[in-house]
């Protein structure tokens, strides 16, 4: 084996050296901090080995918030580089790497884990379950996601980041045109976390279909749970396509196969098709749960039940089906003929219909409601008009003939930010504010929350609306600089100012978490918002067993029915509760997978084989383990319930 230290080095820029030093300092800081405060044991017992869906959810959200800032810094660097003509802040290569990792991180390591985190926290509670169907598999999912994300994140200091765009089109992503190891990282980091996501999909389908509380028929499920169920069905059918695409990419780049090459029979368009057969449903994987979150919040803060429940479910089902037959709208201009473009144009526009149904249902839910303008509700209300702008420009882009005019311009960039930011980011922030008191037992400060809200909403429009105009003026995307004669300068400067405002908004949001943790009163009962669904029927913070007694559901919005129609929820006496025990193996599996990926990235075959055998050993160890969990005795449950007070018993 020829060991060459050079290939690990990233050359170039003071910015990257600065990043290296700050990563090293932060790592040392964390290690020293944990040692000084003697927290290693606590970290291992309470978090790294946990199989509790609530804690796993919290870890997902924490990782997603970190990634939000990592991807956000990428965004700021991009907007700064294009803020004025002939900027010299980044060079072309560095700019390519930044826009690639921005897209990858925001979609796959920020939006998805944030949503999966909320799923983990909320869904078992909403269906009255004690846990997900496979708690240990859930931990495996998280650690595979986490170490996949870490693998991608070290790329920019070890060996170089991917630089062919988040869609990694061939031949651009081939060894020939992208000679650094960056796209090896792409294929392996996404593969590892993608396996984790697939396991989440299987886990939550079984959880929702098999673990619902007695009486909760499918059409009595809360809308968020419905959206999660449909999302996970999409995950199970879409992610294997990504698995295959990434594997073929790996074979092309590491072993010289000919799938996407320009010679020897390879077909570069095959990549575009495979990528978007997964990639378009992926858009709905992040947006459907957001629709679920908004449905819960709008119903709660309008003090009404959700308008058009059945049509909400039906439209999500239709969207999920349509999401699989629109992928070619991502490359109308790549020569696929009139019939193909026509088909994909019409199927794409058809998605606007069920989405419109949902928008009107939310508006009808608001109608004559007693609306309270809390922070989560403000995000939900802002979502409606902003998302509609995104949707309407989407229909503009869906017209294949018109798309020849503005494809690959900033108009497109503006469109998908107008869809994804209100559709996914505002939703997870709204959900975060909404369910925060459930998990931690206190609310986030409303005043600081509203400050962050206004910063984010206004800056968002300042940052992205100019891009529509720039696109129509002819500015293409992924252009790292331009001359003054183009006239793109002023609008780009406005957009940069908006990006700074967004950054301030997100900093205020995080400051709010800090402030509220220190100063907000801890006197909440389990139901601070006077909400409607089952997750609010237990205490806050939530005891490890979720519900002392499994609820019996007799209608939609079961908790509301209990509070206002005096329908009893908890009728059985308290008995002993079975719990799964913690395990360190999922964490170890993630670590081993990380090394497997790392060695493959650098084509270090012998260590890679060792790590591959390591994966099999950990799997075997999990298979041979006989751990039947433990029981919490009934008297201990009663004691806990008394301590938490009120609520269920």
């Amino acid at each position: 084996m020829n060991f060459d230290l050079e290939k690990f080095k990233v050359h170039g820029e003071p910015l990257i050296y600065g990043a290296m030093i700050s990563i090293a300092l932060v790592s040392i800081g964390i290690v020293v901090g944990l040692t000084v405060f003697k927290k290693w044991g606590w970290l291992w017992r309470e978090w790294l080995t946990t199989v509790d869906h609530k804690r796993i959810g919290v870890m997902y959200i924490l990782a997603a918030l970190l990634m939000l800032f990592r991807g956000g810094i990428d965004a700021l660097m991009m907007r700064l580089q294009t803020a004025a003509p002939e900027m010299k802040f980044l060079d072309a290569q560095h700019y390519n790497e930044v826009f690639t990792t921005h897209g990858l991180i925001m979609i796959l390591f920020m939006a998805m884990p944030f949503i999966i985190g909320l799923m983990n926290v909320v869904v078992p509670l909403q269906i009255g379950a004690r846990d997900v169907a496979f708690p240990r598999l859930n931990a495996v999912s998280f650690w595979l996601f986490f170490f996949g994300a870490m693998l991608l994140n070290i790329s920019f200091v070890v060996g170089g980041s991917p630089d062919a765009g988040w869609s990694a089109y061939f031949p651009l992503a081939s060894n020939q045109f992208s000679p650094t190891v960056g796209n090896n990282y792409y294929s392996l980091a996404l593969q590892i976390s993608g396996i984790g996501t697939l396991m989440t999909g299987v886990n939550f389908i079984v959880t929702i279909l098999k673990m619902r509380a007695p009486g909760m028929k499918l059409m009595r499920m809360p809308m968020f749970t419905w959206s999660v169920l449909i999302t996970n069905v999409i995950i199970v059918f879409a992610f294997p396509v990504l698995t295959v695409a990434l594997a073929l990419m790996m074979f092309d780049r590491l072993f010289g196969s000919q799938f996407f090459t320009m010679a020897n029979g390879g077909m570069d368009m095959l990549w575009a098709n495979l990528f978007w057969v997964w990639g378009h449903p992926e858009v709905y994987i992040v947006i459907l749960p957001a629709f679920g979150i908004y449905s819960e919040i709008i119903a709660t803060f309008s003090k009404k039940n959700l308008y058009g429940y059945t049509s909400m479910v039906a439209s999500m089902l239709i969207i999920s089906l349509l999401s699989f037959i629109v992928w070619a709208h991502h490359f109308y201009t790549m020569g696929q003929g009139v019939m193909v473009n026509g088909f994909f144009s019409i199927s794409t526009m058809a998605i606007a219909v069920p989405t419109g149904v949902k928008i009107f249902n939310w508006l009808f839910t608001l109608r004559k409601g007693r609306i309270s303008f809390t922070t989560p509700m403000l995000y939900s209300l802002a979502f409606i008009p902003i998302f509609t702008i995104g949707g309407v420009t989407g229909v503009m882009l869906a017209m294949a003939s018109a798309d020849y005019q503005y494809h690959n311009t900033m108009f497109l960039v503006a469109h998908f930010h107008y869809v994804l930011i209100p559709g996914a980011v505002f939703a997870v922030i709204a959900g975060f504010h909404y369910w925060f008191p459930k998990v931690f037992g206190f609310r986030l400060n409303e005043r600081i929350g509203k400050h962050a809200f206004w910063w984010i909403i206004i800056s968002f429009n300042v940052a992205f609306f100019p891009l529509f105009i720039l696109g129509l003026m002819g500015m293409t995307r992924r252009m790292y600089t331009y001359s003054a004669e183009t006239g793109f300068g002023p609008l780009n400067m406005i957009s940069f100012a908006g990006a700074l405002g967004l950054a301030i908004g997100f900093v205020i949001l995080v400051y709010n978490i800090y402030w509220s943790t220190r100063y907000m009163p801890r006197d909440e009962n389990g139901d601070p918002w006077d909400a409607r669904t089952l997750e609010w029927a237990t205490h806050s913070p939530i005891p490890e067993y979720n519900f002392a007694v499994v609820p019996k559901v007799k209608s939609r919005d079961a908790f509301w029915a209990m509070k206002h129609d005096k329908q009893p929820l908890f009728e059985e006496p308290i008995t002993k509760i079975h719990m799964p025990s913690n395990t360190g193996k999922p964490f170890v599996l993630g670590v081993v997978f990380f090394f497997l990926g790392f060695f493959l990235v650098f084509s270090m075959w012998i260590p890679a084989i060792v790590a591959g055998v390591g994966v099999l050993i950990v799997l075997a160890a999990m298979s041979f383990e006989r751990d039947h969990g433990f029981y919490i005795p009934a008297d201990k449950v009663i004691k806990t319930e008394k301590k938490l007070g009120g609520g269920t018993v």
Binding site: V236, V244, S257, M267, L270, A620, F624
Partner: protein, 198 residues
């Protein structure tokens, strides 16, 4: 753990029946995976570049033996599950062992086929057709390999613990996996080899 004695052992607890259902969902994902691989193969099947085509490369003899081995092993894993339901530990182990040995035989022939192809100058790097052929067959072969290791681990557990709700559940799920590999092979046999030979 509540054991429901009215059901077969592998379904007897709530967790067990959830695992079986979960595995069916996972098989749904596996179907999507192999469907994608088949699609890639069909797209690239006529792109030989300078390399050989399927009709120049394939020989029916070894493929028929592979097919025979895998189809028979699907039958014997069925017998293993049948014996397991009657609590015949020895018979379960014997049929399990026969299944895995046939899987091993299948792998041996597949590997020698691959070696022959490479000697004839048909490598992963030669043409898009061969890339997709090797990756499709290789993915199936990797599944059989994993199945062999997984099945061996289950056999050890059956020997140690006998037939209980946990081992019965694992054995049954393994049988689903093994039947699935058989189904995939039938598609490979028909649409890769037979069609390629034509």
């Amino acid at each position: 753990m509540k054991v429901d004695t009215s059901k077969p052992l592998e379904y007897s607890t709530h967790e067990n029946s959830n695992r079986i259902f979960g595995f069916w969902v996972f098989l749904g994902a596996e179907i999507a995976l192999f469907a994608t691989l088949f699609t890639v193969f069909f797209v690239l099947v006529n792109r030989f570049a300078e390399g050989p085509s399927g009709s120049e490369l394939f020989e029916i003899g070894p493929v028929l033996i592979e097919t025979f081995l895998l189809l028979t092993s699907s039958f014997t894993i069925g017998l293993a599950v049948h014996a397991m339901r009657h609590q015949y530990k020895r018979a379960t182990l014997v049929f399990f062992g026969i299944t895995l040995l046939m899987g091993l035989g299948f792998l041996g022939i597949e590997i020698s086929e691959f070696v022959t192809y490479v000697h004839e100058g048909a490598t992963l790097q030669t043409s898009a057709f061969l890339s997709s052929l090797f990756v499709l067959l290789g993915t199936h072969g990797a599944h059989v390999t994993f199945g062999f290791l997984w099945g061996s681990a289950i056999m050890i557990q059956l020997m140690r613990e006998g037939i209980n709700p946990a081992t019965a559940n694992k054995s049954f799920i393994f049988s689903l996996y093994w039947h699935f590999l058989d189904v995939v092979w039938i598609f490979i046999f028909s649409f890769v080899y037979l069609k390629g030979l034509m």
